[in-house]
C-alpha cells in the first residue's frame, strides 16, 4: 500500500482544519469503532458555501480526503457541492489505495450531511432522494 504524493501533501498539511462556531450546517459521518469519523462545518451565504472546516479522526487518507473535499466545495454553490462524488475526490488526490476508497465515500457523505443539516435548519425544501441513507456502502460499519 502506498499513498500518492498528493495524499501525503494533504495529510502533512491539511487545509481547512477546524470548526466554525457559527456554522449554517454540520455533518458528521463514520464511527469510532471503524476508526474514522468526519465532521464538516459549512457557512452558506446566498446559496454559496463561503467557508468550510473539518475535524477528522482517522487514518492519513481520511485526513487527506477531508482536506481535498473541503477545498473542492469551498466557494461553490451548495447545489454544486452536492454533486461532488467520492470518485472526483480520489482523482484529485491522484488515487487512493483500494482499501482506502471508503475514506473518500465518507468525505462525500460528510458534505451531504452538512448540506442536509443546512437545509433542515433553514426550512429549505429538498428531494429526500438526494440524501438516501446508504448504510451499506462499506461493509465494515458493524451494527452497534
Amino acid at each position: 500500500m502506498e499513498y500518492s504524493e498528493k495524499v501525503m501533501e494533504h495529510f502533512a498539511k491539511p487545509h481547512n482544519v477546524g470548526k466554525l462556531e457559527d456554522a449554517d450546517g454540520i455533518g458528521e459521518v463514520g464511527n469510532a469503532k471503524c476508526g474514522d469519523i468526519m465532521k464538516m462545518y459549512i457557512k452558506v451565504n446566498d446559496g454559496i458555501i463561503t467557508d468550510v472546516k473539518f475535524n477528522t479522526y482517522g487514518c492519513a487518507s481520511a485526513i487527506a480526503t477531508s482536506s481535498m473535499a473541503t477545498d473542492m466545495i469551498k466557494g461553490k454553490p451548495v447545489s454544486e457541492a452536492l454533486k461532488l462524488t467520492n470518485k472526483a475526490v480520489v482523482e484529485a488526490l491522484d488515487g487512493l489505495p483500494a482499501v482506502k476508497i471508503h475514506c473518500s465515500v465518507l468525505a462525500e457523505e460528510a458534505i451531504k450531511a452538512a448540506v442536509k443539516d443546512y437545509y433542515d435548519k433553514n426550512g429549505i425544501a429538498y428531494d429526500p432522494a438526494l440524501f438516501k441513507e446508504d448504510c451499506c456502502h462499506y461493509d465494515h460499519h458493524h451494527a452497534e
Binding site: M1, F11, A32, G35, I37, Y57, C59, V99, H140
Partner: protein, 394 residues
C-alpha cells in the same frame, strides 16, 4: 533530523558479525553442501556448524534443529505435521491462544476446516495465558498445545515452562512460536519441556529468509518437502549455507550478550513507557513486567494509529500500529481485541520495539515527538471532542 528505527519486532538490522559469517558462502565457498569434493564439503561443514551453534544456544541437540525459510514455515510445518501424525491416532483437538501470530491462527483455522476441534484460550487483560487453563483444556484427544513464547505486538512473555510441564505431565505435545523470543530471552528447550519451537533469524539481527524448527528427537514429523536428503530428508532443497551461517552467528552473538542487552533494553523500555504514559488518556497494553525487554505498546484515546505513525515517520521515527488501517484489514489488531481493548482504543495503538543499539538520546527524542503529534491529532479529532464532553471537560 534524527532517524530512529523503533520497529525491531518487525525486523532487525543485520549484524556485522552475521554478515561477516555469511560472506565466505556468498563468495568463495559456493559449493553444494551435498557434493563430495572440497568446496562442497566446506559448505557441508558450514551447515553443520550453523546447526550446532543454533542447537547449543537453545539447549537442543544438533540433529533436533531443522532449518526453514523462516518462522511462518516452521509454524506451519510443526502444527500441520503434528496434526497429521496425531490424526492417525484419532487425536483431533488443538489448544492455542486467541492472540497467536496469524501463521499459527490461520494454520489451525485450516485444520478446523478439516475436522479438527480448536480451543482458543483467553489471554486476559494482561496478555498472558494461564497454565491452569491449558491443563483444564487438555482432553483425551488433544493432539497439540501451541502457545507463543512472547507476543509480537504487546511483547508479553507466556509461562512457557509451566505450560511445558503441564503438557509433559499430560503426555501432550507442546509447540511454541518463539519468533519474538529467541535471541531476546534465555531459552532451554529441554529444561522448559518444549517439544517443538519456531524461530526466525531476522528478528535477532540475522538475515531474512531463514529460520528453524526445533523438533524433539522421537517425534516423527512428516516431511515438508520431498526430493533430497537435506534436513535429514524432511525438507529437501540445496542448503542456503550463507543464511544458516548468518543465523547461527547472530544467535550466538545475541545469546552471549543476552544479560547485558536485557539490562540495557529494559532500562530504555521503561524510560520510554514512563515518558509516553505522561500523555493524558494513554495506557500500556500488556503486562508491564512479564514483557520482552524491547517492547512498548501504548494506546492513545481519540487518535488513530496510522496517522500517528505516519506523522512520526515525518519526524524520522519508524514504528508500527495495531489500527485497522495499518493491518490492511478493516478490524484493528486481534491481539489488542483479545486483551479486551474496545475497537476505538485499539485503533489508537502505537508499538515501538527497541534493540540494543537504540540510545537514550533516541528514546528521549521519541518522548519529545509523540506528545505534539497526539496533541495535533486530538485537536482535529471529533472522537476526542466527544470523549472530552463525556468526561465533562468541555
Amino acid at each position: 533530523m534524527m532517524q530512529v528505527y523503533a520497529d525491531n519486532a518487525a525486523t532487525t538490522k543485520l549484524s556485522e558479525t552475521a554478515l561477516k559469517a555469511m560472506m565466505p558462502y556468498l563468495t568463495d565457498t559456493y559449493g553444494n553442501a551435498s557434493s563430495l569434493y572440497r568446496i562442497g564439503q566446506e559448505a557441508h561443514h558450514g551447515v553443520q556448524a550453523a546447526r550446532a551453534a543454533v542447537a547449543s544456544a537453545l539447549g537442543a541437540d544438533t540433529n533436533e534443529i531443522y532449518f526453514t525459510s523462516g518462522g511462518s514455515e516452521a509454524d506451519n510445518w510443526a502444527i500441520k505435521g503434528v496434526a497429521e501424525l496425531m490424526a492417525k491416532k484419532g487425536k483431533k483437538h488443538i489448544i492455542t491462544s486467541a492472540f497467536e501470530h496469524h501463521a499459527v491462527l490461520h494454520t489451525v483455522k485450516k485444520l478446523e476446516e478439516q475436522g479438527f476441534r480448536i480451543t482458543y484460550l483467553p489471554v486476559y487483560e494482561n496478555g498472558i495465558v494461564k497454565a491452569e487453563d491449558v491443563k483444564n483444556a487438555i482432553c483425551d484427544d488433544t493432539a497439540l498445545v501451541t502457545i507463543m513464547y512472547a507476543n509480537n505486538e504487546i511483547g508479553t512473555i507466556q509461562p512457557v515452562s509451566e505450560i511445558g510441564a503441564v503438557c509433559r505431565e499430560k503426555g501432550v505435545l507442546f509447540h511454541t512460536d518463539a519468533v519474538q523470543a529467541v535471541g531476546h530471552v534465555a531459552i532451554n528447550v529441554k529444561a522448559q519441556n518444549i517439544d517443538l519451537m519456531s524461530m526466525s533469524a531476522h528478528k535477532f539481527h540475522g538475515p531474512k529468509g531463514i529460520g528453524a524448527l526445533y523438533c524433539k528427537k522421537g517425534i516423527r514429523l512428516p516431511n515438508l518437502i520431498e526430493g533430497g536428503a537435506q534436513e535429514r530428508g524432511r525438507r529437501a532443497g540445496t542448503e542456503a549455507v550463507y543464511a544458516m551461517a548468518g543465523m547461527a552467528a547472530a544467535l550466538t552473538e545475541a545469546t552471549d550478550a543476552l544479560t547485558q542487552n536485557t539490562a540495557k533494553l529494559t532500562a530504555l523500555r521503561n524510560r520510554l513507557i514512563d515518558g509516553l504514559l505522561q500523555i493524558e488518556s494513554s495506557r500500556l497494553n500488556g503486562d508491564r513486567n512479564s514483557r520482552l525487554p524491547g517492547n512498548v505498546n501504548i494506546s492513545f484515546e481519540g487518535v488513530e494509529g496510522e496517522s500517528l505513525l505516519l506523522y512520526l515517520d515525518m519526524k524520522g521515527v519508524s514504528a508500527s500500529s495495531g489500527s485497522a488501517c495499518t493491518s490492511g484489514s478493516l478490524d484493528p489488531s486481534h491481539v489488542l481485541l483479545a486483551i479486551g481493548l474496545p475497537h476505538e482504543v485499539a485503533h489508537g495503538s502505537l508499538r515501538l520495539s527497541l534493540c540494543e543499539s537504540n540510545t537514550r538520546e533516541e528514546i528521549d527524542y521519541i518522548i519529545s515527538c509523540v506528545p505534539e503529534i497526539i496533541e495535533r491529532l486530538r485537536s482535529m479529532s471529533p472522537l476526542w471532542e466527544k470523549i472530552q464532553k463525556e468526561r465533562g471537560n468541555l
